[in-house]
Symmetry: C2
Subunit: 439 residues, 2 copies
């Protein structure tokens, strides 16, 4: 129970301190979530969050769908529904997934409260304490929070510009197996990776699936960004290659709006049955109202055209970010994604993105330090920059501010080089003017 | 892993059979959920489900709230929100809870995806394998499914017409403690109990809280029905007596509509902090759209008047059920609830509600057998009858059909008394014409 001490200060004032389950020790506030408070201050250019730009969605489309649902199916929309989700929506989800090469049966789709909840449910079904989840390094923050909340360990496998490296995956699997631990699944975001911005090539999708099959490892394919490509579509989903070894997660949060909290899992049949039971236990049924509104939207609106609109918006913003990085920070390196929301930046070796963050916020720009995306404390030399939410102008402004911060840090390093006093100086900065909710 | 064998037939065809977490063995399809399929056939009078009668809610009230939310706060409604919930809604929830004597701070409220999800999150935070949850016997089905899914044991304490019996609670606590097991919380539905229909008296609320305090047992007070009283309000909530030892669960599913999936937990501060982390891990944030619509409804509609409307509807239906029971089945005994959705019926000793169910469905009436509400297989002599959803006329029709079924069973018993062949006969009935999805 010692881990719980680090959950928060003042735990000894909690009369229920000794009553929590062991797994509660794995629940920590993520750095990304804590940043939301900062991002909401209007004077800060936030390149930190992952909020989609919902203003690009014509609200009349949504209002029209709501009115139709309430007038035609109001009693159903207001009622409890099936724990698996609305049948018609599950059929429509097949059409969405077909765009990425997936053939499936609606009976194997489970609608969830965002794809986040599908991640939670799959983890609850599979993870015993001490189990290992293999994931890319870096990986999605709140997936790792879930894995740890079920007392699993995350084993990171490195990526290059073509995504997860198959040879490294083989090595890591062999090493984990040799240690006697059980690998429960490979968690992967193959297209427009969060946070790395890279996309797994088709050849590697085939090879990585084969490695997983050889080792009897379930693949958990998380694909929130796949349809938000820029120049050319991502390769087909891993799930398009195999229906028995892949649990595929999708969501309407990025192609429509996150406020409805509707995502889904497509799972092998036996797993799907257990997912429905877990979903019923957790929420009885996902929101009937949200599901019916999305179903009506998909039936009546030009949803593919709307996805094209989103693609255009994000493409322009990505270009603004890449061009500003080239202009203001040519000494750094970064990924240049062909879709999604994120650019992964590598700083000069001497800099520490986490230590630098308070100074950046003071200069009115926020980013997510790379450490948030590693389970093992790695990532100090990286930062994730999001181009999804701010305007192109604000992205340029944010990068310019970031350049000021980075120059300032490098100047400090040059000035104090060899004196050993930089860390003390950094600590002084950090505690002199801590931004709210950043630690 | 042997328990998993009973999860479903054909598990040996599941290639991932050996990969599930141990806790997955605790996830079983509940008898109540399985009955939803039957209840949806129009010719069956279902006294089984717990669906609120949402047709009593004027849809224009909801449509108006939706339109206002979309036109005034569309971008917020469609976006991710806080993991704790919309601040204004949390303030309004204080007003709802004040009706049952609760004084609290909005900072200690966590909005969840129905109060079911609050139950799930509290269980995830507190339950280690082998822990004990004390609850009334009978108790809410899907709470027990959650407790078992975290590998906890449920210890039932009996009730009488004034609710949970304090002396029995003391005895059970002593017995569990003597066995060396850890009691994590007392799960209780003090007002208009599901399924028993009884209400814990004020004196007993005070005494039971005191017993919990003496034994350092957290109280998990689940109160979905409290405001749906008939003749007189229920006593104030247990939470009104103590803010440090009670996690209180509330919901809009019964006072407004379940289709939005909005409930809440009110928790001691340190527990609340962990609940928010668990909520963020599970769903990132509850639906902004649903929360804002409910907030707007509470702000602009006569929500207390609407609750009075619901009370009138359910009171009339309860009266229809009690009067039909008196008319058609005077030889049975039942509880006569002063609120909520349920009547708990005790059959003559010779009858078995679970064995009788297929015959009832054949006679076009459905109920929930008492066994669904006990973790230990008890309840064969009981059934839960719901009066919330069917019209008074259909309630009478359903009870009349039920009387036919019960008469038939008793006739059979008389005919075959002493011959020992009744069980064989019953089994024959059960397997000759099994209704869909009932086992």
């Amino acid at each position: 129970m010692t881990e719980q001490g680090s959950l928060q200060a003042g735990n000894n004032l909690d009369p229920w301190y000794s009553h929590y389950a062991e797994r509660a020790g794995g629940l920590r506030a993520s750095e990304v979530r804590a940043l939301f408070a900062v991002a909401s201050r209007p004077e800060v250019v936030s390149l930190a969050g992952g909020m989609p730009f919902v203003a690009a969605l014509p609200q009349d489309l949504v209002i029209g769908a709501m009115d139709t649902v309430m007038r035609e199916q109001g009693a159903v929309a207001l009622q409890y529904g099936s724990g698996q989700g609305v049948p018609e929506l599950r059929e429509q989800i097949l059409e969405v997934m077909a765009l990425e090469g997936i053939t499936a049966n609606a009976d194997d789709v489970v609608v969830t409260t965002g794809s986040q909840h599908a991640l939670e449910l799959v983890s609850k079904l599979f993870l015993d304490p001490g189990d290992v989840v293999i994931s890319e390094g870096p990986s999605y923050v709140t997936a790792m929070v879930i894995f740890k909340s079920y007392q699993a360990e995350v084993e990171h496998v490195p990526m290059d510009e073509h995504g997860l490296i198959p040879e490294a995956l083989r090595e890591h699997i062999a090493r984990v197996k040799a240690s006697g631990k059980t690998i429960k699944f490979l968690y992967t975001i193959p297209s427009f990776h969060n946070p790395a911005g890279v996309t797994l090539s088709w050849e590697r999708r085939v090879e990585i699936l084969q490695i997983a099959q050889e080792n009897e490892i379930l693949v958990l394919e998380d694909n929130p960004y796949g349809l938000l490509y820029f120049d050319r579509p991502a390769p087909d989903a891993i799930r398009s290659l195999d229906e028995d070894g892949v649990v595929y997660l999708g969501t309407f949060s990025k192609t429509l709006a996150p406020g409805f909290r509707v995502g889904w899992a497509l799972a092998p049949h036996a797993i799907r049955e257990k997912l429905v039971l877990a979903n019923e236990a957790a929420v009885l049924s996902p929101s009937s109202f949200s599901q019916l509104v999305i179903s009506e939207y998909l039936k009546t609106a030009d949803w593919k055209g709307q996805i094209n609109t989103f693609r255009g918006v994000y493409h322009e913003r990505k270009n603004a970010m890449i061009s500003a990085l080239g202009e203001y920070l040519p000494e750094l390196t970064w990924t240049n994604p062909n879709g999604g929301f994120y650019v992964w930046v590598t700083l000069p070796e001497r800099l520490d993105s986490k230590a630098m963050l308070p100074r950046a916020v003071k200069e009115l720009v926020a980013y997510t330090p790379g450490t948030a995306f590693f389970a093992d404390g790695d990532g100090h030399q990286n930062m994730r920059l999001s181009f999804c939410y701010p305007t192109p102008e604000n992205i340029r402004l944010g990068i310019r501010r970031l350049a000021t911060v980075i120059r300032g840090e490098l100047d400090l390093l040059d000035t104090f080089a060899g004196t050993g006093s930089l860390d003390a100086l950094r600590d002084g900065q950090r505690f002199a003017a801590p931004p709210p909710n950043i630690s």
